[in-house]
């Protein structure tokens, strides 16, 4: 993922703050719709599609990631068609229930929000986003936390994987696999993390750490950023105020009749 963020396209070169604010407005607009407003959502796909295409990010890669996390959204949405069986519209003779509409509404929103978040990371880099958050006034502690979360997630996962492997090699049949072993295993992992945190802190103090991570900012918020941000904000708000899908449909119906 972060390898993608080293590409050099116009989208990559925008100040991360501009992209971050645009994405936040986007998310706010998308989640603010009523659960039956399915058609209003579709115009919003233009933003992630723009990020992916202009940022030269493999779309299949983002899709795959979305599918990987989709079970969580499915779990939330799957009960809607079962409990909400009131028919709200008809397609031909087929009655469409509110449950199905809200089901698709949830799934569409999920695809929009997660897809955009992933595209944003792919064309900004996690570090760029943390940097932007810090410069937009997020408390330092949280920025440092986020940075370190990302850096040491890999180390923690590797450590856990090594411990599990070591356990598996010495457990036979079903002995040595139950919760009884998991408890101490997790405890050890926690202790090791604390230990490691201490060592890292030592290394930081050795190099003059005093609570602030100073970041060399290479981006500046210039004209391009203002234009980028203004254009997208206006677009998102228009999409929010008018149902562009319906307008476009009406337009084409009138065009051909």
């Amino acid at each position: 993922m972060d390898l993608l963020s080293y590409r050099q396209t116009p989208v990559h070169r925008f100040d991360p703050r501009a992209k971050l604010i645009a994405t936040l407005i986007f998310l706010f607009c998308v989640v603010s719709f009523h659960k039956y407003q399915l058609s209003n959502l579709f115009p919003y796909f233009i933003f992630p599609v723009y990020l992916v295409s202009a940022g030269d990010i493999p779309a299949g890669y983002i899709m795959k990631k979305i599918i990987v996390v989709s079970p969580f959204a499915l779990m939330v949405a799957v009960f809607n068609p079962i409990f909400d069986t009131a028919v709200v519209s008809h397609v031909g003779h087929l009655g469409v229930t509110g449950g199905w509409i809200s089901f698709f509404s949830i799934m569409t929103r999920f695809a929009l929000t997660v897809g955009t978040a992933l595209a944003l990371i792919a064309c900004t880099g996690f570090y760029g986003i943390c940097n932007a958050l810090g410069r937009l006034g997020m408390p330092r502690v949280f920025v440092v936390q986020l940075l370190f979360l990302y850096r040491y997630l890999f180390v923690l996962v590797e450590e856990a994987a090594r411990m599990l492997r070591a356990r598996d090699l010495r457990s036979f049949e079903n002995r040595g696999r139950g919760l009884r072993v998991y408890g101490p295993l997790m405890g050890t992992l926690l202790l090791r993390s604390i230990d490691r945190a201490q060592k890292i802190h030592r290394a930081m103090v050795c190099r003059g750490f005093d609570g602030t991570i100073r970041i060399t900012g290479t981006h500046s918020f210039g004209m391009r950023e203002y234009v980028f941000l203004a254009l997208w904000t206006v677009m998102f708000i228009c999409f929010r105020l008018w149902n562009v899908s319906v307008l476009a449909g009406d337009f084409f119906v009138r065009l051909f009749s």
Binding site: Y127, Y150, R151, F154, R207, G208, I213
Partner: protein, 255 residues
């Protein structure tokens, strides 16, 4: 150049859990010396290293680095002049990219931003890692991590370099290149290690630590030949000073 010396005077250290790790250690390391600190696991090497730049303060006895006694108040100066490279590069490299990690120290020391760029480039070139500048730190190989870890410290231009097990976990080629790199530095060097062959290459002086006190302190060439002494502190002669395993064995069986 009195500011490159380290003087320890009867240092004692007891951990909060009561473990008496250092029991009266004294030595004087002067400008430009390269000193190996060797000893068994748990002999107190790492504890001693943590004292040398003020991360731990002795419970008894005194330590001076250059003109400063090591205390809480002088810790800032000490950290600036003593660069510490930890054993595990994952502890040392905590920033997302190589560039940010090497720039971390200089930025904290308050160098002007326009100077940072050149400094980072130059340091990375010194350790032969200039091509890694924009890579994420967690994706480097073991040898690359070690080089970058050294660069993160060099970028602060320390007078004294402290290295904890610099050659552990490296393949023989990477180990050899690292030894050559360390050989080009003119800093006062203190290296804690089990790699006695490296000691032969890099350090003219060796201090053996055993159960928290100094067992021997002298020229590496002599100490590393003293089999009885080495055995006592759970060490072995460097491989290069041992006889050839093939012809040496033959001799024994003939006898």
């Amino acid at each position: 150049m009195s500011h490159h010396i380290i003087k320890a005077d009867e240092i004692h250290f007891t951990y909060p859990d009561g473990f008496h790790a250092l029991r009266g250690i004294s030595f004087l390391i002067t400008h430009g010396e390269s000193v190996a600190i060797v000893g068994a696991n748990g002999a107190g090497k790492s504890t001693l290293l943590l004292h040398l730049n003020g991360l731990l303060l002795p419970t008894q006895g005194g330590l001076r680095v250059g003109d400063y006694p090591v205390t809480k108040e002088t810790a800032h100066h000490i950290k600036r002049s003593v660069g510490m490279v930890f054993q595990n590069p994952d502890d040392q490299l905590f920033m997302p990219t190589v560039y940010d990690d090497v720039a971390f120290g200089p930025l904290n020391l308050g160098f002007p931003p326009e100077e940072i760029n050149g400094r980072v480039q130059q340091t990375l070139e010194t350790v032969g890692a200039a091509h890694l500048v924009n890579r994420p730190t967690h994706r480097l190989s073991g040898g690359e991590k070690r080089r970058v870890a050294i660069a993160t410290v060099l970028s602060m231009t320390p007078d004294i370099l402290i290295l904890d097990e610099p050659t552990s976990d490296l393949d023989p080629g990477a180990r050899r290149r690292l030894i050559e790199l360390l050989g080009t530095f003119h800093h006062t060097k203190i290296i804690a290690t089990h790699d006695l062959d490296m000691v032969l290459d890099l350090c003219e002086r060796t201090i053996i630590i055993n159960e928290g006190s100094i067992l021997a302190d002298g020229r590496s060439a002599e100490i590393l030949r003293d089999e009885a002494l080495l055995k006592k502190s759970s060490l072995e002669k460097p491989l290069r000073l041992q006889g050839c395993p093939v012809c040496g064995k033959k001799k024994k069986t003939r006898r």
